[in-house]
């Protein structure tokens, strides 16, 4: 990485990171009804972290997010496969999704969906893969 010493960039990046991150969560959550979903959400989260990497450098970001991204990929895949195969254990065909409406505190009448869990798997895989690639290429000197 190039040595950067840009105070303004670093300061803005710190704030913008949270904005992008929250937006990515929103995009992910809202995906079933409005534009968005696990794939875009994951990419946005990844880009938020990439922004930090560009503003600081890989090592600094690594000390901040001590995450093994390959583990994230595995978790995401397991979550996706698990959600897909769960119906088989209750006598439904593979990949049947269930949904219903629940009265939740704060949120009111909310629809909860197993597709969301699957999408969460997609989200994790996308974040994990993107950052695995970027990190390993970036580390390679």
């Amino acid at each position: 990485m190039l040595k950067t010493n840009d105070v303004i960039l670093q300061f803005t990046a710190k704030i913008v990171f949270f904005i992008i991150f929250l937006f990515s969560i929103h995009i992910f959550m809202a995906g079933h009804y409005t534009p968005g979903g696990g794939f875009v959400g994951g990419l946005l989260t990844a880009s938020a972290i990439v922004l930090l990497i560009l503003a600081f450098d890989l090592k600094t970001v690594q000390t901040g997010f001590n995450i093994n991204y390959r583990l994230l990929v595995a978790t995401g895949l397991l979550l996706a496969v698990g959600t897909a195969s769960f119906p088989m254990f209750v006598g439904e065909p593979f990949f049947t999704h269930f949904y219903d409406y629940f009265e939740l505190p704060f949120f009111g009448n909310t629809s909860l969906h197993t597709a969301m869990l699957f999408d969460a798997g997609v989200y994790l895989v996308v974040v994990g893969v993107t950052l695995t690639i970027i990190q390993s290429i970036g580390e390679d000197e």
Binding site: H32, V40, L43, L77, P93, V129, I137, E139
Partner: protein, 805 residues
């Protein structure tokens, strides 16, 4: 308890085995595993009485209903007998392995995971009533056998043997799948029971002979029959409990099972009878002859196993003859199938005990070389007794169960001479002669095995370890089997009522409908008949062969080892051939691969488009071209030109970014917010990625390359662009079928409970695609990680600080 669940229990337990191994280091993992086969064995024994009464049981677990794929567990006499063998011998083998495999030195969790995997697979093979799942389990037994043979994978011989067994059995398995597919096309069902019900119709079908040959390929490779026997001797590199279990008592009998199970379908065919009987008999005589060549104890047993499997196979072939004989149930033809099942049980008992004894000898003396062994009788009296019982039973000597089934085998072979069809009136006389010769060799190698190990002179200086008797825990399993060997001799008819007759009904439903119809009574004494004279002859000549063995054993070395030579040659040839083939197109730069890929893309797509008449051009549904469309297009073109013609790499990357963002703008204009969003983020990340690997781009400077105008690349690029344009125009200009989007619009809320069709397609309608896509994405990510890290490691140690945690 659910029958299908019972099949999967070992597999489910296998998941926790590694954790048990890690958590309880001081307890041998085998003790936990032992509970699985034992429980299942007790579970299956509860069916014995009911199955003997003629009941059958069946249980279904639907897998993919739209493809009619389901796990159907079907318990009748035949599958119950095999299930009992699998779980019963499995229990003894696990018990034996606890003492055989050292807790502190071996990777026990691997061993038991593979073993449990095999157990599930084998139960699945014998209980499946669905040909596709039968095939699935069949291949799973090949894979678990591969893993178990290669258990000591640091040895070259283990890996070689594992690969050989895998190559041959999977080759046969694939052919068998072809046979199954043909059968299911002919009968329009995947169920074996329903196929059997339509046997006469199938016989008339054009595919019948093909199906027959293909299924037999599966059976012969798995049971090491005919030329395919060569994998079994090499499989002996596996730990001895594995050899006793997989390569003697159960897995190699899967082929026998298959032939027995499909006899009702194929018995009508002349080809079936000839192939099964002749292959079995030739294998029997060939391998019993070569068993005398072996000096490795396990080698003797391997050849002996192959030859005994041939014996059972030939009996099943003779059993199919009963289909063609009027009133066969009253004649000598009733014996063959019965004898096959009887010998199958006997073989499992005596060969299992012999393998375990060989394991003990190996364990306690450190060698299996028969030339170094000898005189162990006084040192290992218990092992000697068990080995003696096993060998004499194998030789067909009275007071052991092998005698009874060997007599019935001779009866069945003699009956072939009376079979008047399919040229057996001329050739039939050869069968009892070959059978007799094979029995002579069998008798001789049985004596050879036991005498050269336990009798003769003890040579302590030749042995790596000081020989002594094995711990009692290790002896329990072989002793139980040896006791069975003797017991079965005295109560054969009880065994027949509960195990053999129910199984025979499954093989010969055209002869019998209930067990009461089977009029076979086993007795040790038949009076002075041909069989008795033949047996006496076997004893005398066999003894002579054994006594003179040392004088002519060296002549074996002069015989060519053609089949193994053929296998090795084929492996080397395919290895080198494939290497040469891939070297023709691999090992070049990325640009060359891109040329291949894009070139074939153009040829395939354009070829299909124009040969199928898919091209059309119409402007009826096009939107009007607006001013800002033209502006964006202009930006796109400029961005592209900058990317190509700029001298600076940085400018090039930014130019590429411009192209990407303008495409995103197009998505916005054409009301595709999801696509626009994704495109924007992807573009951002890939620009960042390009910047990151700025330093890693190839060294060759742009100036040199830019000067050299490459015609072929130019043509390919132009062609790709043209292809995409043509396809886009063709797709826009015609609607061959109604769009699916109407269906999505109607059901997105009512069925999927969502509002955003794009996302619901991703996670629900076409969830399979997404699942596979993220799997591919994950593989790609790990692949890139591996590529980069691997290169780092190869460079040297100074790069280690870059190690990712």
């Amino acid at each position: 308890m659910n029958l299908v669940l019972a099949i999967f229990i070992p597999l489910i337990v296998a998941i926790v085995v590694p954790f048990l191994y890690k958590s309880f280091k001081h307890i041998h993992t085998g003790w936990f595993v032992l509970a699985v086969p034992l429980t299942l064995f007790l579970f299956y024994t509860s069916f014995i009485q009911r199955v003997a009464n003629g009941e059958t049981f069946s249980d279904t677990l639907h897998w993919v209903e739209s493809l009619q794929l389901s796990f159907i567990s079907y318990i009748d006499g035949l599958s119950l007998l095999f299930s009992l063998l699998i779980t019963g011998i499995g229990t003894l083998v696990v018990l034996y392995s606890i003492f055989y495999l050292d807790r502190t030195k071996e990777q026990l969790h691997n061993f038991y995971v593979y073993l449990l995997m095999f157990m599930s697979a084998m139960l699945g093979v014998v209980q499946s009533d669905h040909v596709i799942t039968l095939y699935l389990f069949w291949e799973l037994t090949s894979i678990s056998s591969f893993l178990l043979i290669a258990y000591w994978f640091h040895k070259d011989a283990s890996r070689f043997g594992a690969l050989k067994s895998m190559m041959i059995t999977v080759f046969g398995g694939l052919l068998m799948l072809g046979g199954f597919v043909l059968l299911s096309i002919m009968g329009d069902t995947y169920s074996i029971r329903e196929l059997i019900a339509q046997a006469p119709v199938l016989f008339e079908h054009d595919y019948f002979t093909w199906a027959l040959i293909l299924v037999l390929f599966g059976a012969f490779t798995k049971s090491a029959q005919g030329p395919f026997y060569i994998w079994l001797p090499d499989a002996m590199e596996a730990p001895t409990p594995v050899s006793a279990y997989l390569h003697s008592a159960t897995m190699v009998k899967a082929g026998i099972y298959l032939v027995a199970r499909f006899t009702p379908i194929f018995a009508a065919s002349e080809l079936w009878i000839w192939l099964v009987t002749a292959t079995g008999l030739l294998t029997l005589v060939w391998c019993s002859f070569f068993a005398l060549k072996q000096t490795d104890l396990k080698g003797i047993l391997a050849f002996s196993t192959v030859s005994q499997l041939g014996l059972i196979m030939s009996l099943l072939g003779a059993g199919a003859m009963a289909y063609h004989v009027e009133g066969a149930a009253e004649t000598v033809f009733k014996y063959a199938a019965f004898a096959a099942i009887f010998h199958l049980i006997n073989h499992a008992t005596f060969k299992g005990s012999l393998f375990m004894i060989v394991g003990i000898i190996d364990h306690e003396t450190g060698t299996r070389d028969i030339k170094k062994l000898g005189g162990l009788m006084s040192l290992m009296p218990l092992s000697f007794t068990v080995a003696m019982i096993g060998s004499l039973s194998m030789a067909g000597v009275p007071f052991f169960n092998g005698f009874l089934s060997k007599e019935m085998f001779l009866t069945a072979m003699l009956s072939i001479t009376e079979f008047g069809f399919f040229h057996f009136d001329t050739w039939g006389v050869l069968f009892p002669i070959i059978a007799w010769v094979a029995s002579v060799f069998t008798f001789a190698y049985s004596l050879y095995f036991v005498a050269h190990t336990f009798l003769g002179k003890h040579q302590p200086d030749q042995l790596p370890k000081k020989a002594h008797e094995a711990p009692i825990g290790m002896l329990v399993s072989p002793i139980i089997l040896a006791v069975l060997v003797v017991t079965i001799f005295f109560i054969p008819n009880i065994v027949a009522t509960y195990f053999i007759k129910p199984a025979v009904i499954a093989i010969q439903p055209f002869l019998y409908s209930t067990t009461a119809d089977i009029d076979v009574h086993i007795s040790a004494w038949h009076g002075f008949n041909t069989e008795l004279l033949m047996t006496l002859g076997i004893f005398v000549v066999g003894f002579v062969v054994f006594m003179t063995l040392t004088k002519w054993q060296h002549h074996y070395n002069k015989m060519p080892n053609g089949l193994n030579f053929l296998y090795d040659g084929m492996m080397t040839l395919s290895d080198q051939g494939m290497n040469r083939l891939s070297n023709m197109y691999m090992g070049k730069s990325n640009q060359t691969y891109l040329l291949y890929m894009l070139g074939s893309f153009v040829v395939l797509v354009l070829g299909t488009l124009f040969t199928q008449g898919g091209f059309a051009f119409s402007t009826t549904h096009t939107a009007p071209v607006r001013f800002y469309d033209i502006v964006i297009i202009a930006v796109l073109v400029v961005g592209t030109l900058i990317t190509i013609f700029t001298k600076s790499r940085l400018t090039s990357i930014i130019g590429l970014g411009v192209v990407g963002y303008t495409v995103a703008l197009f998505f916005v204009i054409f009301n595709a917010p999801d696509l626009a969003l994704t495109q924007l983020v992807i573009e951002t990340i890939s620009v960042a990625l390009f910047l990151l690997c700025f330093y890693h781009l190839p060294k060759n400077s742009r100036k040199e390359n830019r000067m050299r105008f490459q015609v072929n690349r130019f043509i390919i690029s132009l062609a790709v662009g043209a292809t995409v344009t043509i396809v886009a125009i063709a797709a826009q200009s015609q609607k061959l079928m109604p769009s699916i989007s109407e269906y999505y619009k109607e059901t997105v809320y009512s069925l999927a409970g969502g509002g955003n069709i794009v996302n619901v397609i991703l996670v629900d309608y076409r969830g399979f695609d997404t699942l596979f896509e993220i799997a591919v994405l994950g593989i790609a990510g790990i692949g890139i990680y591996g590529l980069i890290k691997l290169r780092l490691d190869a460079k040297g140690k100074e790069k280690k600080h870059a190690e990712n945690k």
